[in-house]
């Protein structure tokens, strides 16, 4: 194809600017370059189409400039209240991955060990017949689907309808189990209703932002820039509470480091101080809270088929107070390495009745073998002080994926979930059966496999067919050293829908070519309960097809056509309208599609044409009906629960043989397993491979130099990476940190498949490793 010199030069200039922006973003947390969007945009008649960003749970609004059927530019949507026209480096460059040369454009079927290009219809015939045959031979619980917090709402909905409503198995789970399950369990145990009560407008009012194990400058960059703006404008303060000094720590007013797992103890010490100093909002607690305790010493789920059910028991305030005696700042300082002064300082922030405080957290709290407890403890702090459900005052659980809320949690693509409620509840099953038009007996009342157990079942040979969509488990699961050989076994037929080849497509029997984000219409739901719709913007290459449509096609081939009467043209609209029925009412009403098409996202509950920004507060939430200022209507008695949750050690701690903690996470340049961002050259060049971060004292003791190859090993596996000393981040002494985006350096071969017994979310942040020169 002929490319004019001017076009080529302007492209190179854009690349050069992009490289500088990426470099700037890694040096200055929260930096934004709004003008670059305008400067780099080609002249001509661009058609700007709105949608949400593909990459993270912040859910920034984007405008994609389309010219002659091609996406040629991306800019922030100025009408989106999320990002007000700004984007981070990933956001700006997102559409560049479409140009990758190794895009999966056609179905591939493995025949005699090699992949053969196959017409999509034939591949879908094969998928449907394999699924049917497996059910006939081994029963409906021998087939499974594993989807994603990056699936669109319609994609999640039809997957749930196929598995639970049509086939009649609860063998459906998603990768949000790896990131948000503890948040969900935290919300349900404390409030009986999932998702944050507040919204991003809270940033504009809060005096303090306390971030719990959360590197927002890299993981939620646009929200971090909103915090920095308020810091400059109003003097709001950012307090970083973490196990590693990160870009966020550098930009914070105070950075407090703690020993891994001891956040539980520090949280309880804050509650102790709040009570001791008389900072409890007594009226609030008396009117709106109950107190409970649950089982302790739950274990860590390390053995196959592990199961646990909590047994809540009511307690009174005096009992809770007595329990907290074990968590005086003096006692906690000893195990947490946080000074007594810092613990008291943290408590005093929450204790000051004149200060508005937001708590913010994501993976540090959720990917934790006591993740549900840790979520509960943060809520305890806000409930004791009554700092909740008010503008600028509240706990705010942030989401990682762009539709972990909208799809995984609201549609409910977890084994125990239905689009409204849970499979265990007969009323919820009745409602699903009615809307899906299936006999209620078909929906099983018992959850089956959560993610870790699902892949263990594949390894054991219990699951004989699995279909994954929008997900790359062989990079993202904990302990891939067990699950990769498991997926390679002949006992399981593996179908993988994806946009690019990954280590997961490498083990597939059938690879289905999925449409990318803007090549299909869809809806996502972000961290602040905002549902965002977009229309298909461009055509995808070859036979690429939306995942929802491929699921529908397989359902039809399996004989469930009457349950999936959607049209190819309008299936997104038809599915959303059907799905909306599940959430009707003041507590979760979703905006009609016509409204979503016009607006840059709408927050639910959407009641009488208006979004509810602060739930459970009678001033803002029309669902409150108890005549009081607050009403936690998720619980039958309208009261939230303060949970007595102790500190318990991690599943595996450093010892003589494996003397270091291993913490894993992300970097700003890459989205999750890197399958998209590593194909965006400017992001790939900025961060071409993973690395292992050391504290300089540890590196010195081991005689390791910067850049030197190092082997990180655990009892499960090992991984070789270059050392990074005092560069991007700085772990505490005795700890190493590795980003997980790099499929050539699979750190999840090393991690441990221990999980929170309540939420079943694995802990990717703590296991024991040893370090050797490679």
């Amino acid at each position: 194809m002929y490319t004019s010199l001017t076009n080529r030069r302007s492209f190179i200039k854009k690349m050069a600017a992009a490289a500088a922006m990426t470099a700037a973003a890694t040096m200055f947390p929260g930096i934004v370059f709004a003008k670059e969007q305008e400067a780099g945009i080609p002249s001509g008649n661009l058609d700007w189409k709105k949608g949400p960003c593909r990459f993270c749970g912040v859910g920034c609004g984007i405008l994609v400039g389309v010219e002659n059927g091609k996406a040629v530019a991306v800019k922030g949507d100025p009408n989106s209240s999320v990002n007000k026209g700004l984007l981070c480096v990933k956001g700006y460059h997102q559409t560049m991955c479409i140009q990758a040369k190794d895009r999966l454009e056609h179905a591939l079927v493995k025949k005699n060990g090699t992949y053969v290009k196959t017409p999509l219809n034939e591949a879908l015939d094969l998928v449907a017949s394999k699924m049917k045959e497996t059910i006939e031979k081994h029963g409906k619980d021998s087939v499974a689907m594993y989807t994603s917090g990056q699936s669109t709402i319609p994609e999640g909905y039809v997957a749930s309808k196929l598995m639970k409503g049509a086939i009649g198995t609860n063998n459906l789970d998603c990768n949000a189990r790896l990131c948000m399950a503890s948040a969900v369990a935290g919300f349900l145990t404390t409030f009986g209703a999932d998702e944050p009560m507040g919204c991003y407008e809270d940033f504009d009012y809060a005096d303090y932002y306390v971030t719990w194990g959360n590197n927002m400058a890299e993981m939620h960059p646009v929200l971090f820039s909103r915090m920095l703006e308020q810091k400059n404008k109003r003097g709001s303060k950012i307090i970083d509470f973490a196990t590693r000094t990160s870009r966020s720590s550098a930009a914070s007013d105070k950075s407090i480091l703690f020993e891994p797992q001891t956040d539980l103890a520090v949280g309880n010490a804050i509650c102790y101080e709040i009570i001791k100093n008389g900072w409890v909002n007594k009226t609030f607690v008396e009117k709106h809270c109950n107190l409970s305790k649950g089982l302790t010493n739950m274990g860590y789920g390390l053995e196959d088929n592990y199961s646990f059910t909590d047994k809540p028991e009511k307690i009174n305030f005096e009992e809770y107070k007595a329990f907290l005696e074990d968590y005086t700042p003096e006692k906690v300082a000893k195990i947490s390495r946080v000074s007594v002064k810092d613990i008291k300082y943290l408590a005093s922030i929450f204790g000051d009745p004149n200060k508005k405080v937001m708590s913010l957290w994501c993976m540090g709290v959720n990917q934790h073998t006591r993740g549900t407890w840790m979520n509960n403890i943060i809520y305890n702090i806000h409930l004791l002080t009554g700092k909740i459900s008010q503008p600028g005052n509240g706990p705010f659980s942030l989401t990682g994926q762009p539709s972990a809320c909208g799809t995984a949690r609201e549609v409910g693509t977890f084994t125990h979930k239905l689009p409204k409620g849970v499979v265990m509840n007969p009323e919820h099953r009745e409602l699903a059966a009615k809307i899906w038009k299936v006999p209620v007996e078909r929906i099983p009342a018992k959850p089956t496999y959560h993610t870790t157990e699902m892949f263990r079942a594949v390894d054991r040979g219990d699951i004989k067919f699995i279909w994954t969509q929008v997900v790359n488990p062989l990079v993202s699961l904990p302990r891939t050293s067990r699950f990769r050989p498991g997926m390679e076994k002949d006992s399981c037929f593996v179908v993988v829908s994806d946009v690019f080849p990954t280590p997961t497509t490498d083990v597939a029997d059938v690879i289905l070519p999925a449409s990318w984000h803007i090549e299909k219409s869809g809806l996502y739901g972000n961290s602040e309960r905002r549902t965002q719709h977009w229309d298909k913007m461009i055509e995808g290459p070859g036979e690429t097809t939306p995942d929802a449509w491929m699921t529908i096609q397989v359902a039809k081939r399996m004989g469930y056509g009457d349950l999936f009467p959607y049209s190819e043209e309008n299936h997104v609209e038809e599915i959303y309208n059907e799905y909306r029925q599940f959430h009707e009412g003041k507590k979760h009403g979703m905006a009609p599609l016509e409204v979503l098409k016009k607006e840059s996202g709408v927050i639910w509950p959407y009641v009488d044409g208006k979004s509810t920004q602060w739930r459970f507060n009678a001033k803002f939430d029309p669902a409150c009906s108890n005549g009081e200022d607050f009403h936690f209507y998720g619980k039958p008695d309208g009261k939230a629960v303060i949970w007595q949750r102790p500190y318990e050690p991690a599943a595996e701690s450093p010892d003589e043989e494996y003397p270091f903690w291993l913490n894993t996470g992300r970097v700003i340049e890459h989205w999750h397993t890197g399958s998209m961002t590593r194909r965006i050259s400017v992001l790939h060049k900025a961060m071409p491979h993973s690395y292992v971060e050391f504290h300089p004292k540890d590196a010195k003791a081991l005689g390791i130099r910067n850049g030197e190859k190092v082997k990180v090993s655990s009892r499960r596996g090992s991984c070789v990476l270059p050392a990074s000393i005092n560069e991007r981040g700085l772990p505490t002494q005795g700890q190493v940190f590795v980003p997980f985006f790099d499929e050539n350096m699979l750190i999840n071969d090393v991690t441990l498949d221990a999980f929170c017994p309540i939420s079943k979310e694995p802990d990717f942040k703590k296991c024991a490793v040893k370090i050797e020169k490679a």
Partner: protein, 79 residues
């Protein structure tokens, strides 16, 4: 035909003057950060000599504290 991008750090309180001064130089584009004292500068010149001269001109500006090169492309004329 070199195309180079830089991060330009202004002297305290001199961000606006640095933007103005660099914008007036030919073969230079400036992209200021919204919320930090930092500019991206992209230069597009005909040859290495011109590129050197332009760099010297930028470095001579009083409002500039530090100029750090990030990426460089040298495209052949007829490509």
């Amino acid at each position: 035909m070199p195309i180079i991008s830089y991060l330009a750090h202004p002297q305290d309180g001199k961000k606006e003057s640095l933007i103005n001064e660099i914008s007036q130089l030919s073969n230079c584009e400036v992209i200021p950060a919204e919320n930090k004292d930092l500019l991206i500068v992209v230069t597009d010149t005909n040859n290495k000599e011109e590129d050197e001269q332009l760099k010297e001109k930028i470095e001579a500006l009083d409002s500039l504290k530090l100029l750090a090169m990030v990426s460089g492309f040298d495209t052949p004329k007829n490509n």
